[in-house]
């Protein structure tokens, strides 16, 4: 007797992902790819140096409006810098920060969660107590306090963004690990003679990858928003360096007079979070289906 189910080939995985996606998901994926490309190629495609000031042509509106300055497609900002170039570099830094932050969070939270899930006892107690502690102090507030206390250098910033959401990772990983260690195949592996470390690495870890990926996307977009919130309050990355958040933050006073300072970076923030959220949800759906296969 032979199994009748067909074996999906490796190439087919991405193909089937794309085929199963609906229009919104496809759009989100395209937007995501475009944004990443824009960020990566910022140096090449930005028309100007993002720091190049021109005090005599401050606050010029985008193409198509009165007083427009030719060559500055999206207008100039309060120091006469090119909004388009700053948006591109801002996108680059924002995505970079979010990536660094999300990775750091994954590393910290994931490791702690794994330890807590596998080693019951004090390791678990301490981790979960720290999680409770973290939950008790809303993170935005904590981040603000840290930045207010320790200054707004890029290092502090990355640390703050990096610890953002660690407790989510820790909780999810711990819960998943617990769930998985209850599954018979873990017991089977132990009964086969697998030791603690072997079981953790070969059986547990690969099975928590998909919830982790989903959480990663969530935390990525949360960090983008957190960064912009901190910047909005003037506790973000130092000027003149642009991130999308600082652009919105410093531009907001000009909202009624020069809305283009805010609109481009705000739109980029929304696009990033929107596409990442959709992609995350999509991944989650896929992951769920895989786990549900009977």
């Amino acid at each position: 007797m032979t199994a009748t189910t067909h074996i999906p080939s490796r190439v087919g995985v991405f193909g089937s992902f794309w085929r199963d996606a609906n229009a919104v998901q496809k759009a989100a994926a395209l937007i995501g790819v475009t944004l990443v490309l824009m960020a990566v190629l910022a140096q090449a495609i930005a028309p100007y140096d993002p720091l190049q000031q021109s005090l005599i042509s401050r606050l010029r509106p985008p193409q198509g409006f009165e007083r427009h300055k030719p060559g500055f497609l999206l207008g100039t900002d309060e120091l006469g810098r090119d909004v388009l170039s700053r948006s591109l570099f801002g996108l680059q830094l924002t995505l970079g920060l979010a990536l660094a932050g999300a990775c750091l969070g994954l590393l910290i939270g994931g490791t702690l969660g794994l330890l807590a899930g596998l080693r019951r006892g004090w390791a678990e107690d301490v981790t979960m107590a720290a999680v409770d502690l973290q939950i008790a102090v809303p993170f935005t507030l904590l981040a603000l306090l840290i930045l207010a206390l320790f200054g707004t250098s890029l290092t502090v910033m990355v640390c703050v963004l990096g610890i953002a959401g660690w407790e989510q990772y820790a909780r999810i990983v711990r819960a998943e690990v617990r769930k998985i260690t209850e599954l018979p195949f873990i017991e089977a592996a132990r009964a086969s003679g697998g030791g603690q470390r072997y079981v953790a690495l070969t059986h547990v870890l690969p099975n928590i990858v998909s919830p982790l990926v989903v959480q990663f996307t969530l935390s990525f977009s949360n960090i983008v928003i957190l960064e912009s919130t901190l910047s909005f309050l003037g506790l973000g990355v130092q000027p003149p360096t642009a991130t999308l958040g600082t652009m919105v933050g410093y531009g907001r006073d000009y909202m009624p007079t020069a809305p283009w300072l805010v609109i481009a970076p705000a739109a980029l923030i929304v696009l990033i979070t929107f596409s990442v959220q959709i992609l995350g949800d999509w991944l989650r759906d896929r992951a769920d289906v895989r786990l549900r296969v009977r």
Binding site: L51, Q53, L55, I56, R58, L59, E78, L79, G80, A148, G151, T152, G234, L235, Q238, P239, P240, Y250, R252, D253, Y254, M255, P256, T257
Partner: protein
């Protein structure tokens, strides 16, 4: 008739003696009086009687003042000589730490106030004082009630720290408005004080609320939630003026935005480098771009308000990129990064100016970096350069330059400025010479020292604006220290009814 003011900031406490912040100075003049006042509608000092009706010098070091009779505090108490010497001596002979700090930088020459009779007091100074009226009309020596204050905490007969702390939350004065409600940092309500000794207050009530966001302040003005709003940046003026119901008033405030330089920072010890840092900055361009040309760029550390001591002819500070490059080449500078610290929102256009300045430095070959932080770095040995403001606390170079750059004053105390014997000697001549010409000559010498070994560059007098409804007649008075919200008779009137 009542109005609402939307202010960017409201103090956390109200005590004229303890306070000398730009935020606090908005609020005292409506509720407190000094012994001697000046006509604030005039730029030139013209002393007018306030709580003292007449004053004369008994000798070089003693002034005798006759007090106005029938003056009442907001709490109904009569003002007598006891209240006056209590108010003055709490500063002259301060025991409460926050007073001590204030008393030393401007009142150190004042020994004590003594009571002669119920309506006569004498003020004694250590050395002959050329600035008598000026220093008697300071915000810090406004008069507060003795009995009320002492009874606020602990022993009602003794002035304890707790009394002064309590006073700053429930302040009582003799001015035309009583402070009927004060929520620290949030809200302040002035109510007309019917027992006021002078001309009745024109407003029944004035409520000051805090609206920290610029855009929100302007919006509140449009929605009618505020009748007057403070701290409007020049970029926003058109927006308000475009609305036929609204207008703006403004003036170049009696205060310098300055750049300070730490002469003791290892990288900045060479005066040539600091001269280059200063000469590289095109302050006129900053003014044109950021202030629409409305700010005032000084060539010396003096102001119009200082009368005879206003010396626009001095060129202590100027823009000369060529010279800057030359000095830089001669200096010890070797491409090190010069950090420019700035507060994020505190000063209008502060962060923008900081960024523009580092660009200007780059033009002459100096590598600058802006560091925006809420932190005060001025007393840190690591501080290299930073933005700051140098208000005119009173109309004299002593009240502006002196508060910071006198020997042993703040800057030297914080370790970023050095003085020597010679400097002290010049300072002493400037401070205490009876003859105005001698003071002037000494100040020129000081300015020359500053030019040769600069610790500071005044950028400009910022143009501060207030937005308001058309029906309100109010504008900043030229005779005030910066930011005062003067709602006394003659300073404000409402057009409708």
């Amino acid at each position: 008739q009542s109005i609402t003011v939307g202010a960017a900031n409201i103090s956390d406490y109200l005590d004229p003696g303890r306070d000398h912040s730009n935020v606090g100075s908005q609020f005292y003049y409506n509720s407190f009086d000094t012994l001697i006042d000046r006509d604030h509608s005039k730029l030139e000092p013209e002393w007018v009687p306030a709580l003292a009706t007449e004053w004369k010098l008994l000798d070089d070091t003693t002034m005798e003042l006759k007090l106005r009779e029938g003056v009442k505090f907001h709490n109904g108490e009569d003002m007598t000589a006891d209240d006056v010497i209590f108010s003055l001596n709490r500063m002259y002979q301060a025991t409460f730490a926050p007073y001590l700090v204030r008393s030393k930088d401007r009142l150190s020459n004042f020994a004590e106030a003594v009571k002669v009779d119920n309506y006569t007091v004498q003020i004694k100074v250590e050395r002959p004082e050329p600035l008598w009226e000026t220093l008697v009309s300071l915000q810090q020596v406004m008069i507060i009630p003795e009995d009320y204050t002492k009874a606020l905490s602990g022993d009602p007969e003794v002035a304890e720290d707790g009394d002064f702390e309590a006073f700053s939350l429930a302040p009582v004065g003799t001015g035309p408005y009583a402070i009927s409600e004060f929520v620290p940092g949030q809200k302040l309500i002035y109510s007309r004080f019917d027992g006021f000794w002078g001309e009745q207050a024109p407003l029944e009530q004035a409520t000051v609320i805090r609206i920290p966001e610029t855009a929100s302040r302007i919006t509140a003005l449009k929605t009618g939630e505020a009748d007057i709003v403070t701290n409007i940046a020049p970029d926003q003026l058109d927006l308000i003026n475009a609305d036929p119901n609204l207008k703006t008033e403004g003036s170049a405030t009696a205060l310098f935005h300055v750049m300070i330089m730490n002469v003791n920072h290892p990288n900045l010890t060479d005066p040539k480098l600091r001269q280059a840092l200063s000469l590289a900055i095109d302050r006129d361009l900053l003014n044109d771009a950021l202030w629409l040309g409305k700010a005032v760029v000084p060539s010396s550390h003096t102001m119009e308000e200082m009368g005879e001591l206003h010396m626009p002819e001095l060129t202590t500070f100027e823009y000369d990129p060529e010279q800057a490059r030359k000095l830089l080449a001669e200096s010890s500078y070797d491409g090190e990064e010069i950090v420019f610290d700035a507060y994020p929102v505190y000063y209008t256009n502060g962060v923008l100016a900081a960024q523009a300045i580092t660009e200007m430095w780059a033009e002459v070959g100096i590598k600058g970096r802006v560091n925006v932080s809420e932190q005060w770095t001025g007393s840190s040995p690591e501080m290299m350069t930073r933005s700051w403001s140098n208000p005119m606390y009173f109309a004299d170079p002593f009240g502006s330059f002196g508060v910071m750059w006198a020997p042993d004053a703040a800057s030297e105390g914080a370790g970023r400025f050095n003085t020597d014997e010679e400097y002290r000697e010049i300072w002493d001549r400037f401070r205490f010479s009876a003859d105005l010409e001698d003071r002037k000559a000494a100040y020129v010498e000081l300015m020359d020292r500053i030019k040769q070994d600069p610790p500071v560059l005044p950028l400009y007098r910022p143009f501060e604006s207030w937005g308001m409804h058309q029906g309100i007649n109010w504008k900043p008075q030229p005779g005030h220290i910066p930011y005062v919200l003067d709602f006394r008779a003659g300073a404000i009137s409402l057009a409708d009814s």
